[in-house]
Symmetry: C3
Subunit: 327 residues, 3 copies
C-alpha cells in the first residue's frame, strides 16, 4: 500500500512524500524500510529520528525533523488501523464448527461464527454471527452470546455459581437456574470463568474486553465498554457500570456497585461501593490520592516508628527536667 493511501485510510495527514510502499507495522526500534512505526509514548521521541521505518505515525504537535510522517490526533489508534489494514486479523484455518468441537443439537450458532476444535457448546446455547470460539472453550447450557464475541481458549462460560445452603453440616447444592448473557463485541481472554446466576442472568455488556484468568461470580453485571485486566476475582451479584477500568489482580467483594467510568488500580481489594468516575486503589480500596499517601507512609513505617521513639525519649527528658524545680 502506498503511504498516501495508508494516510487517507487511517485518517492521518501526510507530511512529506507519500509515494513509498509500506507493507507492515513495526516498533520504532525494529522497523525496517517498507514498514510504518508509531510514536504514542513521548519517551521514545528520539527513536523517531533514528528509526529505519518508511514513515512514523505521530501526533500533530510533535516536532521532528524526519519526513515523511503521518500526523493524527490519536497515533495509537492510527497504528491500530494501519495494523488492521496491512496485516488484518487472524486468518482462521477453518470456517464454521470444526468436527472436533462438540455442539449439542439444541444449540444455535449464527452465520460466520467459528468454533475451534475442542470447544463445547451446551444445550440451548445461542451464539450470534461472526463470533470466534477458540479451542477448548466450554459454554454451559442456555447461555447466550450476541454478535462478534471472541472467547479465547480454555474459558468457561456459564459454570454453576458457587451456591450452597449449609444445613446440619452438609453443603447442599442450590440448582443454578440463571444463565450468562454476553453482548456484542465482547472479547474474553484465555482460561476465564464466568458463572451463571442462581436465579438471575450474569451479564457482560457490549464492547467490554476482559483479559485472561478472570473469575466472574454468579449474577455479576458488567456494563458496556469496560476494560478488565487479568486475574480479576469478582464475587457474586456485584455490578460494574459502563466504561469501568479494572487493572490486574483486583478483587471485588459481593453485592457491590462500581459506578460508570470508575478506575480500579492494580491488586485493589474493593470492599465497598465505588462512585461513578472515582479512582480507587489499595487493600482495602481507597481513593487513589489517599492511597498514594497511605502507601508512601506505609513503606516508611520504620521511620515513623523511630520518630515516635525519639518523641518518647524527648518527653521523658522534658518530664524529668520538669521534675527538678527550677532554681
Amino acid at each position: 500500500m502506498r503511504l498516501d493511501e495508508l494516510a487517507r485510510e487511517i485518517g492521518a495527514e501526510l507530511d512529506g512524500d507519500g509515494s513509498a510502499e509500506v507493507n507492515a507495522v513495526a516498533t520504532l526500534e525494529d522497523a525496517r524500510p517498507g514498514q510504518v512505526a508509531f510514536l504514542a509514548n513521548p519517551k521514545y521521541l528520539k527513536q523517531v529520528e533514528t528509526t529505519q521505518a518508511s514513515a512514523v505515525i505521530l501526533a500533530p504537535t510533535v516536532r521532528v525533523e524526519r519526513r515523511p510522517v503521518l500526523r493524527m490526533k490519536d497515533p495509537y489508534y492510527g497504528f491500530c488501523r494501519a495494523a488492521v489494514l496491512l496485516h488484518g486479523h487472524r486468518k482462521h484455518p477453518h470456517a464454521g464448527v470444526h468436527p472436533k468441537a462438540h455442539v449439542e443439537s439444541s444449540a444455535n450458532i449464527g452465520g460466520n461464527t467459528i468454533v475451534y476444535p475442542g470447544a463445547y457448546i451446551g444445550a440451548n446455547v445461542a451464539i450470534g454471527r461472526d463470533c470466534i470460539i477458540y479451542p477448548n472453550v466450554a459454554i454451559y447450557d442456555s447461555c447466550t452470546l450476541e454478535d462478534r464475541v471472541i472467547v479465547h481458549a480454555g474459558t468457561v462460560i456459564g459454570v454453576d455459581g458457587f451456591g450452597y445452603a449449609t444445613h446440619e453440616g452438609v453443603h447442599h447444592k442450590i440448582p443454578q437456574l440463571g444463565k450468562v448473557h454476553i453482548e456484542s463485541d465482547v472479547e474474553i481472554g484465555a482460561n476465564c470463568t464466568i458463572a451463571r446466576g442462581t436465579l438471575e442472568t450474569t451479564r457482560i455488556g457490549a464492547g467490554t474486553k476482559m483479559d485472561a484468568l478472570c473469575m466472574i461470580g454468579h449474577g455479576g453485571q458488567i456494563g458496556e465498554g469496560c476494560v478488565i485486566v487479568a486475574q480479576l476475582g469478582m464475587a457474586g451479584s456485584s455490578e460494574l457500570g459502563k466504561y469501568v477500568t479494572v487493572a490486574g489482580q483486583v478483587a471485588i467483594s459481593g453485592h457491590l456497585k462500581i459506578g460508570d467510568q470508575a478506575t480500579i488500580g492494580g491488586r485493589t481489594a474493593v470492599m465497598f461501593d465505588v462512585e461513578p468516575g472515582a479512582a480507587v486503589i489499595g487493600t482495602p480500596a481507597m481513593p487513589a490520592q489517599q492511597a498514594r499517601r497511605v502507601y508512601a507512609i506505609f513503606t516508611k513505617l520504620p521511620e515513623l516508628q523511630d520518630r515516635v521513639k525519639t518523641l518518647e525519649e524527648q518527653i521523658k527528658e522534658l518530664s524529668e527536667s520538669g521534675d527538678t524545680p527550677p532554681a
Copy 2:
C-alpha cells in the same frame, strides 16, 4: 406442585392457604404468581409485602402481613430444597462417557457417572458412581474420585507437583509419584488445578466445595466440608482441617496447618499455622479483630503521621521554651 405439598416436602410450616399451585422459585423482586420466593436477608423484609410471589419462605420469627408464608428455621435451606423439587439439577444431554471424551483403557468409571466431551481420564484413574466430569477436565493417571464428585469444565486434577532439585544451575524434575484422591460429594469449580503429591497423596475431603481458579499444591490435605471461594493458592504440603472456610484470593504458604472450622478472610496471606476455630484476615494473616484495627489505622496513616508531626512541633516549642530559664 400445591403449596401445602411443597411445605411438607421442605419441612416448613404453612401459614395461610395451601391450595395454590407453584412451579418455580424466584427472588422476591422478580417473582410472579405461581412462584415461591424466600427471605433470608432481613434487608429485603419490605419486599415480602410487595412481591407477587404466591408464597414466601421465611423464618418463624419474622412478622409479616402477607399470607401464605412457609415458615422454617433455615429459609435459605428451604429455598434450596424448593429449587431442587421444582426445578431439579441440570439435565445432562447424554449419559455415560461421551465419545468425544477420552478415557484411557486402564481407567475405571463407576455407574451413572457422566463424562462430557473433551474430558480426559488418564491411565489407572478410578472414578466412583454418580460423578459429573464436565467438558475439558483433565484427570492425570492414577487419581481417584469417590462418588457424587462434580468437576467443572477445564479443571486439571493430578498435574505434576512443582518439584525440582536445582543442581549446578539446572532444575532437575523430580518424578511426582503421588496422586490425588477426592472423596465423595466434593464439587470443584472451573479451571482449578490440583497437583499430585511428590510421594504422598493430595486429598480433598468429603463434601468440600471449591470455587473456580483455585490452585492446590502437591501433597495438600483438605479436610471434610470445607468451603473454598475462588482463586485460592495453596502451596505444597499444607493442611486444611474440617469445615474450614476460605474466602476469595487467599494465599496459604507451604507446610502449614489450618485448624478445623477456621475462617480465612478474603485476600488473606496465611504464613503461619491457624488454630482451630480461629478467624484470620490480612496480609500477613492476623486474628480478625486485630486486623480490623490494623487496617482502620492503615487507611488513616496520613492522620497518624500528622499527629506525630504536631507532636514534634510541640516538643520543639516546649524544649525551646524550657531553654529559656524561667524569670
Copy 3:
C-alpha cells in the same frame, strides 16, 4: 537395584553395607524396608534413626547412628536422581500425536514429542523433539517450542495480547502480530496463559519452570532458569532476567526489568525495576529487609497509635503545667 549400585549412580558415598535391594523412594516417615529415604531438612533429623527405610541419603556432615547411609553434598538432588532411577518419569499411554488431538496441517511436530487428546496445535506452530503436550493445551498459530518442553493440561500459549486502541468510546482490537517462543527444557504448569506479543515475540528462556495458573502478558521476556511459582500475573512487555525466583501470587506491572537472580517474595506487587540479585517482597515491593520491618510494625499499628496517643496526653500535661508559671 542394589544399594551400592544406587550410590554409584547418584554419586553418593556409601557408608555401611551396600548389599540391600531397594526399589522405591519414600519419605522418612512412610518408608518401609526396600525403600530409600532422604534428609534434606534438619527438622526431620530424629526420623533418620527411626525410619524403616533401607537407607537414607544425607549430607556428609550429618551425624547419625544408623547405617547404611548414602552421603552426598546435595541430598535433595540425590533423592531426585534416585527417584528417576527407581521410578522414572511418567509412562505415557500413547506415543506421538493422539487422534483426539488436533494439529493444523501447517504445524510441525518433532520426533518423540507426545500430544495428548484434546490438545490443539495451531497453524504454523513448530514444536521440537521430546516435548510433552498434555490434554487440552491450546497453542495458537505460529508459536514455537524448542526441545523437551513440557506443557501441562489446559495451558494456553500464544493467545492474543490484551491490546486495544480506544477511540471515541470503542475499544478497537489491535491485531496481535507477534508470537510466543519457548526455549528448551521449559516446563509450564496447568491452566497458564501466555500471550503473544503485539509486534514482538514473547519469550520463555531455556530451563525455566513455571507453576500453574500463571499469566504472562504480551511481549513478556523471561530469562533462562527462572523458577516461577503459581498464579503470577505479569503485565505486558516486562522482562525477567536469568535465574529469577518468583514466589506465589506475584504481580509484576508492565514495562519493568527484573534483574538476573533476583528473588520476588510471595504475593509481592512489583511496580518498579528490580536490581540483579535483589530480594524484594511486599505490596508495593520493597527490599526484603525493609519489608520485614515494615510488616512487623504494620501488624502492630494499634500499639504505635497508642504510643502516639500517650505522647499527646503527656504533651498536653506538660504544656498545661508549663502554663502555670513556676513559683
